[in-house]
């Protein structure tokens, strides 16, 4: 697969270099690891620090979401690989302003171990209070009875948004953690994959699908999904995804939600809007109110083809956080 890169082993470092040079007013690189980025504006004293992170290859997630109203810092791993504890710790120390730091990351073995180790070290070595919120929005990744095993995918955007807004509004650590967990509990995502991505180092497609096939529930890194089948019209795909979400998290008539139709990389915005069109139809038929919509590539899997639908149930507190302004290099909201 063709890529505009130099050396495959340097892609992450060169990406970070480019990113920092592109947005010097927004973000800065910390000196120790070359994988720790924090907001260029000093985090306010007494504000809870919001730390995000994970493997690369999901851009704009996660590094694009550092900025006002979102995260204070990000630790960046190799492609599809959790960052080690060191950069996480470096970010933690920088963004802790006495009120502690909340870690938001996807529920993957690697992330759990690395962020877990960093949290322990932050406490032991620096006395920093860390709260951890694991994102588990991917309905397809485990049955309902084992919800705690589910992976985190595009829904992490809403969890970060809520935590970032809560921290911005001066909530304490416990409360930011509560808000983030509540958001995660109220968030479900279902995805569909059409075409694979490839790691720059291997150049091999991450999975195989026939020319007329799609895969429901495909993971964010090309992990096998729950069902392969013939590619359906967009409306039917949307029906299926929303159905699975609503079966898992019933939403009553009159309830409010935020919706994200997320492109996995190479799927056009045209297709995403066609998908959104149907999602909106279904929800409005059920009398569910879309409070705010997001359509675009918010969390990708390199150049994978396909999309995911995320629905977050909102109460008044969460609605306010979703509406909170944000100013990040790769996402802004007024």
């Amino acid at each position: 697969m063709k890529k505009l890169i130099n050396n495959p082993t340097h892609v992450v470092d060169e990406m970070i270099e480019g990113y920092i040079k592109a947005f010097p007013k927004h973000v800065k690189l910390l000196p120790e690891n070359k994988r720790s980025i924090v907001t260029a504006k000093e985090t306010l004293s007494g504000k809870v620090g919001v730390l995000i992170g994970g493997g690369s290859g999901h851009e704009p997630a996660f590094m694009g979401y550092v900025g006002d109203g979102m995260a204070d810092g990000v630790a960046i791993g190799n492609i599809f690989a959790s960052p080690p504890p060191d950069p996480i710790l470096e970010v933690t120390r920088e963004i802790d302003k006495g009120a502690g730091v909340v870690y938001i990351y996807g529920n993957y073995a690697g992330d759990v171990m690395n962020f877990g180790m960093a949290a322990e070290l932050a406490d032991l070595e620096y006395g920093i209070n860390v709260g951890a919120v694991l994102v588990t929005d991917d309905v397809a990744s485990a049955p309902k009875e084992e919800k705690e095993k589910r992976r985190g995918i595009a829904g992490e955007f809403f969890v970060t948004k809520a935590a970032g807004a809560a921290a911005d509004k001066g909530y304490g650590l416990e409360d930011v953690v509560r808000v983030a967990k509540k958001t995660n509990d109220n968030t479900r995502t279902m995805g569909v994959g059409l075409t694979p991505c490839s790691l720059p180092q291997t150049g091999k497609p991450s999975f195989e699908l026939e020319d007329n096939e799609m895969e429901i529930g495909l993971g964010h890194h090309g992990e096998p999904g729950i069902e392969k089948g013939e590619l359906q019209p967009a409306d039917q795909v949307a029906d299926r995804l929303v159905e699975d979400i609503l079966a898992d998290m019933p939403i009553d008539k009159g309830e409010k939600v935020a919706v994200l139709v997320n492109g996995l990389g190479s799927t056009t915005q045209m297709e995403l809007y066609i998908m959104f069109r149907r999602v909106e139809q279904i929800l409005s038929e059920k009398g569910i109110e879309i409070h705010r919509s997001y359509v675009g590539s918010y969390s990708t899997s390199l150049e994978m083809g396909g999309c995911s639908v995320t629905i977050t149930k909102l109460d008044d507190e969460l609605s306010e956080f979703v509406d909170h302004p944000a100013d990040c290099p790769m996402y802004a909201q007024r």
Partner: protein, 216 residues
């Protein structure tokens, strides 16, 4: 049996090469079950260790320090799932080797027991979860029993590697329960776990190294 700091470094060097040779294969296994990066991750991690071997570690004689550097370097270079796992293995093992520049068979046994116990603790996986623990745990059990019986490390470790091999192979028939592939269900059947494979390669390379030391 005598195993020196130089031998330990030779072992590490050998792993570097083995991982380079098997990188494609390990990624291929991971594409079937996970995100396809296991070979890449192992390669990045061991290449970083290789740099240390050619640099900071060239004149290091303390086997404990060598293992600490190995563990830390691996972890800093890769993160991922296997970063904390293998790093913990080396760091726990390091305690056994502390301040030693030459190692006895007993110490080698203790090292591998600590290595494997560390990984089990860090990851919390059980035998049957379709992870590297399926390779490592039976290897450890055999190593302990056989060493008890024979008091000979090489004999015991040879048996351990045989158990590791069986354990690795057993992952083909397991449904995965841990890590990225846990939701695969039936579809994970028939595919060998990449971490179980890299763990076998490490143990096997240690055996080869020990044998070549013996042969001298």
């Amino acid at each position: 049996m005598k195993f020196t700091a130089a031998d330990l470094k030779q072992f590490l060097k050998n792993v570097v090469n083995v991982m380079e040779d098997n990188s494609e294969y390990l990624s291929e296994l991971d594409r079937k079950l996970g995100d396809g990066d296991h070979g890449v991750t192992m390669s990045i991690g061991w290449q970083a260790i290789n740099e240390k071997l050619n640099d900071d570690l060239t004149s290091e004689e303390d086997c404990g320090k060598i293992c600490i550097t190995t563990g830390r370097t691996f972890l800093s270079a890769v993160g991922s799932s296997v970063g904390p796992l293998y790093a913990t293995g080396f760091l726990r093992g390091a305690k056994v080797f502390q301040n030693k520049s030459e190692l006895t068979g007993e110490e080698l046994r203790d090292f591998w027991v600590a290595f494997i116990e560390g990984i089990k603790e860090r990851g919390g996986a059980e035998v049957g979860d379709k992870t590297m623990v399926d390779t490592l745990h039976p290897a450890m059990e055999t190593l302990k029993t056989s060493y008890n019986e024979t008091n000979d490390f090489v004999t015991a470790f040879t048996a351990a590697v045989a158990s590791a091999n069986k354990g690795m192979e057993s992952t083909k028939d397991l449904l995965s329960k841990r890590g990225r592939s846990s939701r695969l269900g039936e579809r994970s059947l028939g595919n060998q776990d990449p971490g179980a494979t890299s763990a076998f390669l490490i143990l096997d390379t240690f055996l080869t190294t020990v044998n070549s030391v013996q042969a001298v």
